[in-house]
């Protein structure tokens, strides 16, 4: 007789752990099944070279939703977040550096070195972004309404959102309506003249997506990110011990609340009988029965691979096949024998403690995107970098460093060859570009780890290598994430739920999807 559980959660990424926590807190005994040797999904710290540890994939938090941090009491489970004063340092090939601090006034002073006009407009931009972001933040915490039969609860939520939109006042309300569909390049150009500043801010609208700064809708991505963090360029939000410390604390919180986590077990099938999910099958043949199955895996992996499609209508399958997950990010982690010597910072090491942005012009970013449209990785890529060992020396041996680089664009589908044949070229390209800004970098490299979009799919289970479990775009947002009418964490298969980034709100390491999903799943479990 196979074991029976009340809830099984497939995948121990941060959203799976958040869902597990809330379900356990409500008195259920969820079992989290993680395929890899440790939970954490894309939020993990690992040793990639003897003595060198880093955040293998994501290197900054979303940041996390405040209620999630509070409810899970992550600090008491050992989480120490690090917020360096510098949010981002953006390098230009002419040797100039733009530093944006967390502090508004200091940022404006830095911007004034480039343009007094831009410095004057910066606070206004930040304020509008914060106001608009706050309203979007409210929508992000909502379960998207039922389109056909909105419940009283749905209508109430919509009404509340409608009210907060109204409270924005005329000017910001129109901003909210007008900005969403815009190209982020247009948005930042409405405020600023300095190309380096424009590009640094626009980067937030393209990170992790298959969009260029001139793609319409990229402003929406910026706004979704701004909802979690109104800093125009985004804060540097690190954790002591790397990003894996976040999911470690989450796992501890979930376990303390009563969840069980098993790592190293691979779910190969969700069993369905008469349209109802009733358990999972592991790769070792073990079957686990459960009243509810929750999948933290992406929607395609869950419903097209783990579920036999015969249980779904052909229309649903066709629609899900068209859910867009074109991965665009590769990751390069470097173990360094010393701190690279970045030009233009005059020995101000603090400038490197936040995030480092390489992508000095809007057109530079757009050209990087252009190549990927035709199936090539960018030869002049956009790089989003962190040197976490500067703020957390425990990650590397004394005086040595780790550098974590998100490289964009690396299209999942290459025109010629496969990613294995391009792996070395990708790493070389990243180092070549970085050497323009830190010429001694190549000689400091002790080891490099290159993670291609193919690795993201094969090793970490991200279909298409998409770090957000699906494009963040107007057509895959809110009531349409992952599909119109299926945005409420349930699926066409009874008792099967989704809780990963492929559900609303998606986007980054915030815990939003997991928390929203838990709320809906609890409603369902209690109604039984």
């Amino acid at each position: 007789m196979p074991a029976a559980r009340d809830v099984v959660i497939i995948g121990g990424g941060h959203n799976g752990l958040v869902t597990a926590f809330y379900l356990a807190k409500a008195g259920y005994k969820p079992l989290v099944l993680e395929r890899r040797p440790q939970p954490g999904g894309a939020a993990i710290t690992e040793e990639f070279h003897p003595g060198f540890r880093t955040s293998i994939l994501a290197h900054t938090a979303g940041p996390l939703r405040a209620d999630v941090v509070r409810d899970m009491r992550l600090e008491t489970h050992g989480l120490k977040l690090i917020s360096p004063h510098v949010a981002v340092a953006s390098f230009s090939p002419d040797g100039r550096v733009l530093i944006l601090y967390n502090d508004l006034k200091k940022s404006a002073e830095e911007i004034a070195k480039f343009s007094k006009k831009d410095a004057a407009r910066y606070p206004e931009f930040r304020q509008s972004l914060a106001k608009v972001g706050e309203v979007i933040g409210k929508a992000l915490a909502l379960t998207p309404p039922d389109i056909d039969q909105p419940s009283k609860h749905d209508l109430w939520g919509m009404l509340q959102t409608g009210r907060s939109i109204r409270r924005l006042g005329k000017k910001d309300m129109y901003r909210l309506l007008r900005w969403g569909p815009m190209a982020v390049a247009d948005l930042v150009s409405e405020y600023f003249d300095t190309e380096l500043l424009r590009a640094t801010l626009a980067a937030r609208g393209i990170f992790g997506t298959f969009l260029g700064p001139w793609s319409a809708g990229s402003s929406l991505v910026l706004l979704i990110r701004a909802a979690a963090d109104p800093h125009p360029a985004g804060l540097a939000s690190f954790a002591e011990g790397g990003i894996g410390a976040i999911t470690r604390a989450m796992a501890a919180a979930a376990e303390q609340a009563g969840a069980e986590i098993r790592a190293g077990v691979d779910v190969i099938e969700i069993s369905v009988g008469n349209g109802v999910a009733n358990g999972v099958v592991l790769s070792n043949g073990e079957e686990i029965h459960a009243q509810a199955i929750v999948s933290n895996a992406d929607p395609k992996r869950t419903l097209l691979k783990l579920v036999d499609p015969v249980h779904l209508t052909p229309t649903f399958v066709a629609k899900l096949e068209h859910y867009r997950m074109p991965g665009s990010v590769a990751k390069v982690n470097l173990a360094l024998s010393g701190l690279p010597n970045f030009l233009g910072i005059d020995g101000n090491i603090d400038a490197l403690k936040g995030r480092i942005h390489i992508g000095p012009e809007i057109d530079y970013l757009e050209r990087a995107f252009d190549e990927s449209k035709y199936g090539n990785f960018s030869r002049e890529p956009y790089l989003e970098i962190a040197i976490p060992s500067l703020t957390d020396p425990s990650l590397a041996p004394p005086n040595k460093h780790v550098m974590s680089i998100c490289m964009q664009y690396a299209p999942f589908r290459l025109r010629d060859g496969d990613w294995e044949s391009q792996r070395v070229a990708l790493g070389d390209t990243v180092v070549r570009i970085l050497a323009r800004y830190a010429p001694n970098l190549p000689e400091l490299i002790l080891h490099h780890q290159i993670i291609t979009p193919q690795d993201l799919e094969d090793v970490y289970g991200l279909t298409g290598g998409h770090i957000f479990h699906g494009e963040l775009s107007l057509d895959q947002f809110f009531t349409m994430r992952p599909l119109l009418d299926w945005a409420r964490y349930s699926t066409p298969i009874a008792n099967l739920f989704l809780c990963g980034s492929g559900t609303h709100p998606g986007a980054g390491l915030t815990g939003g999807s997991g928390a929203n999903a838990a709320r809906e799943i609890l409603k369902h479990l209690k109604s039984k």
């Binding site: 005329k170 129109y174 569909p181 319409a216 809708g217 107007l474 057509d475 599909l483 119109l484």
Partner: protein, 533 residues
């Protein structure tokens, strides 16, 4: 002679098709209306001109399908000489010697697409049905004054509710399609239906016409729908020529307006709009004549109206800022050729019926996207998307016997070129590049050209007053549609100046020879006049 004192109820600025529609509706309601057109011909961008002896070019706009049926009916345009001749099909030559030739005949098109992909042939029928459903949903919105989301007036909320209810009423399949059309890129949308590259490329083309979007830019799916909405004789998605050229449409509307009592003057450029105490008083013409009017209805674009024809202090600063922010970004040009014979396509030679429809140079999705890439960095496309028609095959009256006209719409031709380039210097090479592009498919083209007329976006701005050469008086991008067009808070044809209205393509529902903005604005003006009385 001293400046005459002239007084009208309404002065309409600009004698383009929207200005004329606006005037016709106002005159029919008994108003004393004067239309002032800067050029020597009426029609704005919907004009026919004898550019070379015997050759009557539809200089700018060259096909029609969007003209609202209620306007044709209300103004009785056929009686005023409007006759639309059908344009059958779209022919896309391919560099590999193949082609795609879709026609109105359902069976023929089915067989033709099946030659490329059997699956696509089936999907094509389904797609047509789905698009019809989408058009049915969107059409009432085209005839609606956009609601103002910022008011609490029950009447405005009812409109939003009306749209909401209609949306609720759609089947879940249609809802899904509708939402996608409003948000996706043309290619992402078409990818869900079709696998044939040349089919997707050609269909996606209508998603980018007149915009600064690529076929992969989100928002282009909506423009696709905008062009699908065409309606001639009640049939969706049929395009046609006006007998005598596109100008014949404007002339028919002008005729209807005159019959209703409107006065129309050409070569009457306006120097400025007169405003006193936040209210319009009239206009001053370039020759110094002053015309008094209770109402001014401007069919020219917002930049022309608010920046060029008014004094800076007359408008609120915030409003002007929004006007400056409104995006034009013209992206297309036009090459009109007078031909001695017909072009002969390598992939399908001879003067067959494939030349009677649109001929589209859009051989692959990558071709379209690369054309866009050039424009993003301020160059005209090395290999542009070209949409061509040979109107003489349908309406021989526009050229001397045996001669032909090839009218080529060319995209991309960005108004803003990269530093160091200017359109006057590039004009010649731009035109030649188009001809070279066509020659790759129809090599005889170079030998049969008698005359050529090249229009750059700068020409469209200088000669037709289209700011930055945008053929729709402002981009049809999502953030510039419906209650956001042209300026948030002023999407209802009214402006911050009392009795000054907009009635051109820069207002809802936008560009194309549709006439809807002119009509809707007229109805709003009449409502206000009645309310004030």
């Amino acid at each position: 002679m001293a400046a005459r004192k002239q007084t009208y109820d309404v002065v309409v600025i600009g004698g383009g098709h929207n200005g004329l529609v606006n005037a016709a509706y106002l005159a029919r309601a008994g108003k004393k209306v004067l239309v002032l057109e800067r050029r020597h011909v009426l029609g704005g961008a919907a004009c026919t001109e004898e550019v070379f002896p015997g050759f009557h070019f539809s200089v700018c706009s060259y096909v029609v399908s969007l003209l609202r049926p209620e306007i044709i009916r209300d103004l009785d345009l056929p009686r005023h000489g409007l006759e639309i001749l059908p344009l059958d099909g779209t022919f896309t030559p391919m560099p590999n010697g193949n082609y795609l030739w879709r026609v109105n005949d359902h069976g023929k098109t089915h067989r033709e697409i099946a030659r490329h992909s059997k699956i696509d042939a089936e999907a094509y029928d389904e797609f047509g049905k789905a698009m019809q459903a989408m058009c049915r949903f969107v059409k009432p919105i085209l005839s609606m004054v956009p609601p103002d989301p910022n008011t609490l007036s029950p009447r405005e909320l009812m409109k939003l509710l009306f749209i909401g209810r209609r949306f609720q009423g759609l089947s879940s399949e249609d809802k899904y399609n509708q939402v996608q059309l409003m948000t996706m890129s043309a290619i992402d949308f078409l990818d869900q239906w079709f696998e044939t590259d040349v089919l997707k490329a050609t269909m996606s083309a209508s998603g980018i016409i007149g915009t600064f979007l690529g076929v992969r830019s989100p928002g282009s799916a909506y423009v696709l729908l905008h062009h699908y909405m065409g309606e001639i004789d009640g049939a969706f998605r049929s395009w046609g020529f006006a007998r005598g050229g596109t100008g014949a449409i404007s002339n028919a509307i002008a005729d209807a307006a005159r019959e209703a009592g409107a006065e129309i003057r050409t070569q009457a450029p306006i120097a400025k709009i007169l405003v006193k105490n936040g209210k319009v008083r009239g206009v001053v013409l370039a020759d110094g004549d002053e015309i008094q009017a209770d109402v001014i209805s401007s069919s020219v674009d917002p930049r022309q109206t608010f920046v060029n024809l008014m004094e800076p202090g007359q408008l609120p600063g915030e409003f002007l800022e929004e006007v400056r922010r409104y995006k034009f970004r013209g992206s297309s040009g036009k090459v009109n050729l007078a031909l001695d014979a017909l072009p002969n396509f390598k992939c399908l030679s001879g003067a067959g019926p494939h030349l009677r429809g649109a001929i589209s140079i859009s051989p692959s999705v990558e071709y379209m996207e690369r054309a866009y890439d050039d424009a993003k960095y301020g160059n005209f496309s090395r290999r542009p998307y070209v949409d061509m028609v040979i109107p003489t095959l349908t309406d021989p009256s526009v050229a001397p016997p045996g001669k032909h006209i090839l009218s080529c719409f060319v995209q991309y031709a960005p108004y803003k070129l990269r530093p160091g380039l200017n359109w006057d210097d590039l004009k010649e090479s731009f035109g030649n590049n188009v001809i070279d592009t066509i020659a790759e498919y129809a090599p005889n083209i170079k030998d049969i050209i008698l005359h050529k007329q090249v229009l750059t976006p700068l020409d469209l701005e200088r000669e037709w007053g289209l700011s930055e050469g945008n053929i729709f008086q402002g981009e049809l991008s999502l953030e510039q549609l419906f209650f956001l067009r042209p300026v948030p808070g002023y999407a209802r044809f009214r402006t911050p100046i009392r009795n000054l209205y907009l009635c051109g393509s820069a207002t809802h529902p936008g560009g194309g020879i549709m006439g809807a903005p002119g009509r809707l604005a007229a109805l709003e003006i009449l409502k206000d006049i009645k309310g004030a009385a």
